[in-house]
Symmetry: C2
Subunit: 100 residues, 2 copies
């Protein structure tokens, strides 16, 4: 399906940047991080980090909640495992019998 491809491309694009990969690794290690912490570890401006987080959020790769003054971001592990499975499927036994 064509929408699948679009959605996959959006997820992959969201991951296809060193800064966002670093953020994801950080989140994988710490379960949840607030923005300030990610600003320190990525060594980028706070506005830039917020922008990257928005990209990850739009791709359904992270969750987000506010607590006091802070925003906490957390990995969406299901989103990742779905993507990983789709990648496997795509090159292993893709489209045996499907149309597109």
């Amino acid at each position: 399906m064509s929408e699948d491809i679009e959605r996959q491309a959006i997820k992959l694009a969201a991951l296809a940047h060193p800064a966002r990969l670093k953020i994801v690794r950080q989140l994988a290690n710490e379960n949840a991080c607030c923005v300030k912490h990610l600003v320190v570890t990525t060594d980028l401006a706070q506005s830039t980090v917020s922008q990257h987080l928005k990209t990850l959020l739009k791709a359904d790769l992270v969750f987000f909640r506010t607590e006091k003054q802070s925003s906490w971001y957390e990995l969406n592990r299901e989103g990742f495992s779905q993507l990983s499975k789709e990648l496997d499927h795509m090159f292993n036994d893709c489209c045996k019998g499907c149309d597109s």
Copy 2:
């Protein structure tokens, strides 16, 4: 390692485009395709398809050989499975005990 992140980002970026995902699916189905065939199935200009194939090639996601006047492109299945494993690792048990 930082180079790992760069390399992963390049691979992910190479996949992060609907046209290139379609090409990859086509290659997954047919084992090998020449450019002309991909031009027909993607409905893009030949120069555009060549450009996309170059992107996939630089990311080590496809192999390439010439035969007579044609270029044949083929999936690098190892490249894909490596990427899929790295993705799994990244969000499952990334960096238990490593430095970066």
